[in-house]
């Protein structure tokens, strides 16, 4: 094994590596490990009581009413993930393709598509709450204005439409991100390859499905993984637009809200419980880590070197 002598070079390397390592240890590794530890204890407020083993995990997964809450929140996260996959990533790919083809006004549209990403989530949430307002919201007013008044409804106020409405707001907010990543991926495709395809077909569909899509696979890996992590950590928009209880009737409840409520408590859900909250956090963390790992390795395998 080569010995790292404390020469000038060795000192430099040490001096440069130690601060970030310390930072990561203090602010990332330590909290995660602590959360793990918290999950195995009984808590009373901020006071740690007895070691209870897997009791907390058992409670959130199998004991009512926690069990139903967990399942409901998880189910909603799954819906959010698949809906955003289509609305945000699917639309992002199509937008990227259109921008890449340099249609008229591409420069303007490139900015227009990315601009919402820069907006604060709070502002987007508030904006869409106004849009969806049953009486004064621009959505219902527009529907009435074009003779589709029968479609107007309290978007955020009923179980059937609340989650979907928040998902649309999220897709609008973040669609610029996958667009940008896909666009960068498309711009890496050598122009002669596109010329070669044009010599063989004029079908946009064939070009997209057989050439462009496979060649932007590296971008897809990044975008899919981040969307998955984002969808299961979703918190801000449902918190602001649906409230901490995931109202109405838990229809906008997601794991993030549920964890927050359980760990820190709120008016309707009662006392805070760090033990159950930490158990939930650990379960969410492990689930995301495993699935994200699988997605990444699976998609990596089909990436192509240009």
């Amino acid at each position: 094994m080569p010995q790292l002598r404390m020469t000038g070079r060795g000192l430099w390397i040490t001096a440069l590596i130690v601060p970030p390592l310390a930072f990561v240890a203090l602010f990332i590794v330590y909290p995660i490990v602590s959360a793990f530890a918290y999950a195995f204890f009984d808590w009373q407020g901020l006071k740690r009581l007895d070691f209870v083993g897997l009791e907390n995990f058992h409670t959130v997964l199998f004991v009512e009413p926690y069990r139903s809450w967990t399942i409901n929140a998880f189910k909603n996260n799954v819906i959010v993930f698949f809906a955003l996959m289509v609305l945000q990533n699917g639309l992002g790919f199509i937008l990227a393709y259109a921008l890449w083809r340099e249609l008229p006004g591409a420069r303007f549209h490139r900015i227009a598509v990315f601009l919402p990403v820069v907006l604060s989530t709070i502002i987007v949430a508030y904006l869409f709450k106004l849009f969806y307002h049953p009486l004064f919201g621009v959505v219902n007013i527009t529907l009435k204005g074009i003779g589709l008044g029968w479609l107007a409804q309290p978007w955020l106020g009923q179980s059937g439409t609340a989650l979907g409405s928040i998902i649309v707001a999220q897709a609008w907010h973040m669609v610029g991100f996958p667009t940008l990543v896909f666009l960068a991926g498309m711009q890496r495709i050598p122009s002669e390859i596109l010329d070669a395809v044009r010599m063989e077909t004029e079908s946009e569909w064939v070009k997209i499905t057989k050439i462009v899509w496979p060649l932007v696979a590296p971008s897809a890996t990044i975008v899919f993984t981040l969307l998955f992590v984002g969808a299961f950590n979703w918190f801000e928009l449902p918190y602001i637009m649906g409230g901490l209880d995931g109202s109405p009737f838990g229809s906008t409840d997601v794991l993030g809200l549920y964890f927050y409520r359980t760990a820190f408590g709120n008016v309707s859900a009662g006392q805070q419980d760090f033990g159950l909250g930490s158990a939930l956090a650990v379960i969410i963390f492990i689930f995301i880590a495993i699935v994200a790992g699988v997605i990444t390795t699976r998609l990596r395998a089909r990436e192509i070197q240009l």
């Binding site: 002669e192 010329d195 077909t201 060649l215 696979a217």
Partner: protein
């Protein structure tokens, strides 16, 4: 559907370019190209970088729109026909293989899109693979191939579509020198075997001379001359073609006619044979048209040796004439000259070229 007819059975592929112009925004790149290309001809577009030869090829392929003029393929106007429907296949400089498909799929992709049956696609790929020695490589991805192999796949991909016209855009420029002459021979053989009309773009005059039935010399968006390699070398239409074709380049000297002698300003005079009428001329001398004699005393043009290039089978001597022109002369390897040595230059009778001093056009005696 066009383009899947065999060439060997005697299908015509005549191209006719009439007044073709290309404008990028406000810049004119091609200023009206008129050109006829016959069936099964091997035509090479040659010229310096930026002369418009690749642009012209892309217009023929349909990859860029034609700004003005008409392009006919077998008397059918092609200006507005999509590239994939022109019956034209193209081999790109970077090969442009699809990186995510193996060799077989690269060749099958276009063939399938033509609506051929599975058996026909199989058969065509098998034929192309045999002809191009790709049998062992069919399951490989492009990144696992060498430059020469990629080149052959790119040609194979064009072959399986059985196009009427093959376009090749500087296909050898990414290969190393040794491979280049091999692939050059293969392309010549391929043209003999399949007999399609081929249009080949290069800036390398050796490729042009060795491959072409017909060379189109281009410069600054115009055609300077069209002809066989021999015509271009022996009777260049103007000074541009004269200096572009042939290596080392032809030397051009300003001379004044004085009876049957041509004089260089304060540098002696030579007899070169029959002369054109004009008084002031450009005298064009290829390296093999001149003879060097040691010493400054003799009858001819005075010159001073600058350096000698020894090439094994022969040697080139570069010498400066009295008016400052650098002249190249071919000598035998046994006949080397030292730098700064004074020499006298004479011209082999009948081997000089003459050009107008005003517009650079060829003058005949």
């Amino acid at each position: 559907m066009r383009g899947h007819r065999g060439q060997v059975e005697g299908i015509l592929a005549r191209l006719s370019l009439r007044g073709i112009k290309k404008r990028f925004k406000t810049t004119d790149v091609l200023h009206g190209i008129d050109l006829e290309i016959g069936d099964r001809e091997f035509v090479v577009f040659v010229g310096p970088s930026g002369c418009g030869k690749s642009t012209l090829l892309r217009l023929i392929a349909g990859l860029d729109p034609i700004s003005d003029g008409d392009f006919f393929l077998n008397d059918q106007r092609m200006n507005d026909v999509a590239p994939s429907r022109r019956g034209i296949a193209m081999v790109f400089q970077s090969y442009a293989l699809y990186p995510h498909m193996d060799v077989y799929e690269n060749m099958a992709f276009g063939a399938r899109l033509m609506g051929l049956t599975r058996d026909e696609v199989e058969k065509r790929i098998a034929d192309a693979a045999r002809m191009l020695r790709l049998d062992e490589l069919l399951k490989r991805k492009p990144r696992e191939l060498s430059g020469g192999q990629r080149q052959r796949v790119a040609i194979g991909r064009a072959l399986v579509r059985k196009p009427d016209v093959f376009l090749l855009d500087e296909p050898l420029s990414n290969l190393d020198a040794a491979l280049r002459s091999d692939v050059r021979l293969e392309i010549a053989k391929l043209h003999r075997d399949i007999g399609g009309t081929m249009i080949y773009v290069t800036h390398d005059q050796v490729e042009a001379m060795t491959l072409a039935d017909k060379i189109v010399v281009m410069n600054a968006g115009r055609i300077e001359q069209v002809g066989s390699p021999r015509e271009l070398y022996e009777t260049p239409a103007n000074m541009f073609v004269a200096t572009f074709i042939g290596s080392p380049r032809m030397t051009l000297v300003d001379v004044t006619r004085n009876g049957d002698r041509l004089a260089v300003a304060n540098g002696g005079s030579v007899v070169t044979g029959a002369l054109p009428e004009a008084k002031n001329l450009k005298l064009g001398l290829r390296p093999d048209a001149v003879k060097l004699h040691r010493g400054a005393a003799g009858e001819g043009l005075a010159a001073t040796v600058v350096y000698t290039e020894y090439l094994g089978d022969n040697a080139y001597v570069y010498a400066r004439l009295a008016d400052g022109t650098l002249l190249s002369a071919r000598t035998t390897p046994n006949d080397l000259y030292a730098p700064d040595e004074a020499v006298t230059v004479t011209v082999e009778p009948g081997s000089a070229h003459y050009f107008s001093a005003e517009d650079g056009r060829r003058l005949t005696p």
